[in-house]
Amino acid sequence: MIRTFCFALLFAASIAHAAPTPPEEVLDAAAAVAVQDSGRIKPLDTYARFTLLQLSGRTALRTADGGTMRALPWLLECWFDPSTAQSRAVFLIENPEIMEALGLAHGTPRERFPYQALSRARAILFNLARQYGGMPVESRTAAQKQTLQLAHNVRLFESLTRTLISLAPDPAQPKALHLSDHLERAAAGTPLDARAMALRLAAMEESPALALLPPNPASAAPETWTTPAALLQQALAGQLPSLHQIEALRALENLAASSPLTSSATPHFLQLQRATSEVLAENRDYAQIPRELFFYRLQPFYWSLVLYILAFVLIAMAWLFPPHRYIHALALLLLSAPLAMHTTGIVLRCLIRGRPPVTTLYETLLFVTAIAVLVALLLEIINRRRVAAGAGALLGALGLFLAARYEAIDRTDTMPNLIAVLDTNFWLSTHVTTVTIGYAAGLLAGAIAHVYLLGKTLGLRQQDPAFYKHLTRMVYGVFCFGLLFATVGTVLGGIWANESWGRFWGWDPKENGALMIVLWGLTILHARIGGYIRDYGLHMAAVFGGIIVAFSWFGVNLLSVGLHSYGFTSGVHTALSRFYLFESAMLLIATFGWLREQGIIQIVHGKK
């Protein structure tokens, strides 16, 4: 019965999906509207992008007719045409347990549902959320956390669909004054009709969460943006709105009376932009809106990823040809192009937020990848054997793929505000940058070491010992380079801790992770100088160094203790376990290769 109902719903939804999208002109005007979300001023386009990501795990919707719908048109649909928006399958549920609990018919364990399907189970969902919300955070299971998030998402969606509803003119009284008119009169000295306004406020109850109206610099909270309902509430309490706020409110009312499907909505979005621009002329975040729009339109990391993959495939093909000047130049060019795009992306982010390149875990992925590729490129210029270029392209692709996956798992704005202790550009740019350069070099050394170990184990290029000598020199160089940065970065971290918390070293997990990289580097360095390990040992040590880097970078965050721990999800855990497993297998295979090279194991080829 439920299944039939859901099919009927999906069918209805598929008809609705054919709805036309707003013209580009309207979308351009809407994209640049400023909003305040999570304490930051950002373009409506960014807000739409991350809201859709939070709800559906994607930044664009796949419609039933096979097309795609970008986040901003989807958000405008929520505002202007809630009933169609309710029929789109946006709510991602990744746990069959939750679907069962809510009585949702499903075919796969990971599915997206429309609001219409969820609204039938709304009472059950909120009841569960109330129960789980009362439990201590650390004792909640993954399914319970996801249920809480789903309830939060449903509320968010409901509030989005109510953004303009309370502002639309009442069809019964087309000539009635708008809220903005009442407030304008009040600002001019005519007292508000408290009873009528209180009734109006009651009708606006459960107002939208998104703060679209700019702050009033003369109020007690000169930086906090507001909503129409909050504006009216404050006016009733005697705090009258500023003219800019009234202007912005009027723009929203005009929008509520128009349709985004025609260019008639454009002037109202522009009016909303104007109303905010005068108040925020001095605001740094606000001034960055055009750049942020450009950043998301450019999609630098997406295109870098594509180019890294292409570069890797072509460089791998070039391995089949003997060394030549042009092939070398081509390899350099192939790697430089995505690196340039990648760097552009990082620089744009730095400019938008006015911060050094690494401030969040997501940004470490971008930065570490860029540094690894850069070092590989420099190695390629010196060494010309296309091994470094290949390893660089592969690491570039892998790193940006993981960054995209991380964004999809984390589902929050990747340019958030920072908590007080991290909000220091000096230490972020010195300590964090140096430590992450150490990570990059450690991973690159590990990556190149794979070539040596696999080559030796499989018995490739046995007639070319110079090739292996070159690899050893490269890995040793990169390893030492990484050790240098990891050491200086770790000590700088200690000095930061000493400046901020009064202790140089507290054995906090993240500190320990960085120290482990340094100690491993020192062990190998001294063991090599002392003659305890040779080439084979060095390469195996570099691969193990990669495991330690991964533990320090992501592993310790999963322990969820200490000053440095961040919010985390199980997806990272799975990826990390796979990495450990893969690298351990690599080391086992390499051990086998070493034993064979030493003559301890012999493989008999063919029959006697």
Partner: protein, 406 residues
Amino acid sequence: MSVPPQGTESGARRSIALATGTFHAIFALLRSFGLASALFLGLLLLTYLGTLDQIEFGIHHAQQKYFHAFLVLHPVFGVPVPLPGAYLLMVLLCINIALGALLRIRKGWAQAGMLMVHSGILVLLAGAFVNFHYAFDGQMTLHKGESVSHFTSAHDWEVVLLAPDAAVDAPSVVVPGSAFMDLRGAETRTLELPNLPFTLEFANFQPNAALIPAGPVVPAASIVAGHFLDARPEDTNLDLNFAGLHLRVIPSDAGTPQDVLVWALQEAPANLAIPGGTWRAELRRQQWPLPFSLTLREFTREIHPGTEMPRAFSSVLTRQDGDLEERVRISMNDPMRYKGYVFYQSSWGPQNAGPGVDLYSILAVSRNPADRFPLYACAFIALGMAVHFATKLTRYIRREAAGRAS
């Protein structure tokens, strides 16, 4: 001319040779690259184990067990396996660096960088040593308008004794935690106090406990005046641990000994009936007096607009040192350094305060004679590395040039 017996001489020579040989062998081991590698590997293992230990037992426990210790008993499948502690490994590392990297190394420009790096590491380790043995830290909670001239430890306790006529804030005797914090269960320690009419005996220190009325199953030995110290698991947040201690007072004139239980959350000090007047005893977090006082004028907490996320927090204080009064400001990442003490903005409360409620400020305080050692060490290490790379690079460029010329 007397000739010493042949056999004895060769025996002596042999034993001298043996001794010299052994000495050389030990010396060679102490300065070897092998020992250096082994020490780094050992520290790596301890760091890993100490990190995992924190998940269950908290950071303080891991520090004590793995990093401040000479010897660690690490459980492997429930069987305690002895391992060298980080303290021991770092002492050996100092010896290894001094003998291997500073004495043994050829002295010349080519080695200048490495000499500097290793000296820098020694400075860093020396800083760690001074910090471990001579530094102390604690915290200070300040309410608006309140003046405070001491700070308290987070993990150390002390027993305070008040003479019959002493005021609560002027203790007659302070017994530091080292006298009793290691006593568990029935273990006792007696402390003779000069010029006092009694002797103290300590027993059953509980790092976290509750003082509750005794039920039927409580062993009689631990009941005092109908109450006993109920041990609670230690919280990883040290502020939430409330210690308890069993005190026995033995009057010097051979009167009857008296037992009392002191507990961190007791409302009033426990009374000790001593001939000649009633003394009082109290267990509290260890306090250190400051040679100046601080008064909180204003605490401000800024949040990112429209959220609950802190953007900045800072305390404006008046510092009164003798006749000198100064206005100072302490904020996140910007501590106050004064007379060897460092004050950091660490936290505030109450955490769930509504609007309009006056917040109190919590400052972390430390006194570390080696406060600046890491900074000097880091500069030295970085400079040494730069010199080392510069020498290597020059040599490489010269060789390349020579190669091209030939």
